[in-house]
């Protein structure tokens, strides 16, 4: 670590000591039957709790920002600190020792993915307008990429953008947009030339989420909550200076965003209440509470799960260490995503097996029916942010160098490409 990092860490520690409380001893014993028994992956909070959480997140980001920790790697002119990713990671590691509000509503999409994209592709006055506000916690940004007809095949977006003088008129439907309901601005991929091959006729725009014609509908997922939205764009007018990158050059913009998405995947780790599904101490207590601590079959499955979970943790730590040493994360990060989904799924089914019929209906017993929400979230883990199948293609082609499949058309005009038989808006 460069010596200046030491003084930075000292400064950060002083800041955190002033504005936050340090967590009490890490190795806390699991207290079975005490407190909330949720192991949910998706939040199932009512709207008022959700809103309060967003306000808390924004407030903490503001405090960070005002003390020079809002955007550690960002350029000073946009409210950043101008330091390296080594400093950034050091701060993250340090902050993890403190109890601070969860800011993922800002950071996961907006600060982590949209911010870097604006920085790379937007005009100067647009950067000035949005970046400081985003990193100060004033506004939230969302990502308007996926569509009903463009999931794994993202480049087949159909939302149209038609030029009209100094403005563009956007129409279409986006889907799987998280935090849209809290967002002031969204980054949208639109079709600007359907006569070009599909990757070459896309343009990226920053859309004011409060503009006329933007309608946000919560999208309820199978576990019951609505962590995502559908966003309908009907003749939404966007000024041309809100275009990112060249006309028909939006795919390059999207790649910047996606590269930052992939880099953020590994960090997910086993945090949050869902982490109980892959925590040895918690699962050991689950067995103990159910009189199964001596059941060799249950122990066997637990040991197998724990081995995979621990090894995945080791992999993530090592990636982080390499990132600290300045190495760029490669497509190998897909391994972490695959393992995360697999481990959490395995943990959920293991727990389901232990609680048995008490998962059929809510008997009120602590730590039994609570597993239902996680179980119902596991299918999403294999799909969101890139399906398992796409991850495996990436690994096989980009890491192992296996040849691409023939018969995938990247040259014909988008207009002529085959679409799904059923109507999609």
């Amino acid at each position: 670590m460069p010596s200046d990092t030491d003084s930075f860490v000292e400064e950060a520690r002083a800041f955190l000591d002033t504005h936050a409380t340090r967590r009490t001893g890490g190795g806390q014993a699991v207290q079975w039957g005490v407190g909330d028994d949720q192991v949910a992956y998706f939040s199932a909070d009512p709207p008022d709790v959700d809103a309060a959480r967003v306000a808390e997140a924004k407030a903490w980001q503001k405090v960070r920002h005002d003390n020079g920790f809002g955007w550690i790697t960002g350029p000073a002119e946009f409210g950043g600190r101008g330091l390296t990713s080594v400093h950034d990671l050091a701060y993250d590691a340090l902050e993890a020792e403190y109890d601070v509000p969860d800011t993922s509503v800002l950071s996961l999409i907006g600060l982590g993915m949209i911010g870097p994209t604006i920085l790379t592709h937007a005009q100067e006055h647009i950067r000035r307008r949005y970046l400081p506000a985003m990193y100060a916690g004033d506004i939230i940004a969302c990502q308007l990429f996926s569509e009903p007809g463009a999931g794994s095949d993202l480049a087949s977006v159909r939302t149209s953008a038609v030029r009209d003088g100094d403005e563009w008129v956007l129409s279409g439907q986006k889907v799987w947009t998280s935090v849209a309901q809290h967002a002031a601005v969204g980054l949208a991929l639109c079709r600007t030339d359907p006569d070009k091959p599909k990757h070459r006729g896309i343009t990226a725009f920053l859309v004011d989420m409060a503009a006329p014609g933007v309608e946000i509908r919560p999208l309820r997922q199978m576990s019951g909550g609505a962590d995502f939205n559908e966003v309908f764009l009907t003749d939404v007018r966007v000024p041309d200076d809100h275009r990112l990158g060249d006309v028909d050059g939006g795919w390059a913009v999207a790649l910047t965003t996606l590269m930052n998405e992939r880099a953020s995947v590994g960090g997910e780790g086993a945090a949050g209440p869902a982490g109980r599904a892959v925590s040895l101490p918690f699962l050991a207590e689950l067995l103990r509470a159910n009189g199964r601590l001596d059941d060799a079959a249950a122990r066997r499955e637990l040991a197998g799960l724990y081995a995979e979970v621990a090894a995945t943790d080791y992999l993530n730590h090592q990636s982080l260490r390499r990132a600290r040493a300045g190495e760029q994360p490669g497509p190998e990060a897909s391994v972490s995503k695959l393992m995360y989904a697999r481990n959490l799924t395995r943990g959920a089914h293991f727990a389901a097996e232990v609680v048995g019929p008490r998962l059929v209906a809510d008997t009120g017993e602590w730590g039994t029916f609570a597993w239902a929400e996680l179980l119902l979230a596991t299918p999403a883990l294999r799909i969101l942010g890139g399906t398992e199948e796409i991850m495996k293609n990436i690994l096989a082609e980009r890491v192992l160098g296996l040849p691409k499949e023939p018969g995938i058309d990247t040259k014909s005009p988008f207009r002529e490409l085959r679409r799904s038989g059923r109507g999609e808006s």
Binding site: G356, R358, A372, I383
Partner: protein, 387 residues
Amino acid sequence: MTGDLDVADGRIGEAELEELRAATRDFLTAKADEAAVRAAAASDRGYDEKVWAQMAEQLGLQALALPAEHGGDGAGMTALSVVLGELGRVLLPAPFFSSVVLAGTALAAAGDADAARRLLPGIAAGTTLAALAAPGRDGGWDLDGADARGGLAVAAEPGQCGVTLDGSAPLVVDGAGADVVLVVAAGPAGPTLCAVDGTAVGLTRTSLPTLDLTRRVARLDFWSTPATVVGEPGGAAGVLRRVLDVATAALAAEQVGGARACLDAATAYAKDRVQFGRPIGTFQAVKHKCADMFTRIQVADAAAREAAAALDGAAGAPDPGVAAAVAHVVCSEAFMAVAAENIQVHGGIGFTWEHPAHLYFRRAKSSQLLFGGPAVYHERLLARAGM
């Protein structure tokens, strides 16, 4: 179906089975599309009473496999499996499994002519709803198996006319709406099957939130609740053993039906959904996923059929207890795997609330755990096989 179904010595042939399947499917296609199923599941009682009555009146499904001497057709498990496969295919919310399969089998097995005469005709006609309470404290079913640890959840003591029950049955399928509840209670002579009126004093019924949105479950609390003994006092263990064999075999048929629906949905979507300019079914990853689902279902179907044939006493069939336990293991795991893969084939749309895929996922997990789950059913299989 009663009357026009050719039932020779309680068994029906291949052609009649196909006729039964077609009639049931046609009925359900008309009465139980996805919207109807969702509406019924969300309704107060949790099922459509009109459809339930029509099932009885037009097709006689409730009567099909119940004993001929008490208002049934005695058509056997193979016929019943055909019906359950169709009910499972559409996830029909109805007290069929609880009243006909669980309670009906218990009554038929209890050897109590009086109770059978009193209750079975109504069950067969669909006019009486009966439920059977899982005996274990944790909702387990085995009296002598791996989940017997918790012991019986309800105690029976001699009362004024019959017995009185005290305790709680934590998980009773369709328990809230049942006209009569059969309870395996710990009596002085041992596990004893008792019948409780749904409106008896001292009985509290609480509907519970369920994983499976298409099958209701209630908690029943008994406080000196009057009940009558069904069958021999202390004789419930044998009854329950029979119930488990029949119910797990029946559930297996239902699971295969649900799994088939998932595969049908996945293949239809794979043919239709285009990504990268091709139907996703042209990609080997999707193709092989569907082939894996098919393989699991073929094996599961064979197991469910064999269990039904064995319970029907077909020539050359394996031991019914073993075959039922095999079917319970294989069909539980097949349905769960197939329901999960169906969502994966569908991608994003597959895990929305609006798409029916999750209803099958919920049913799959719920029915996998209903009789104890993997930890229990593996050991039960070895026990049935004499190991």
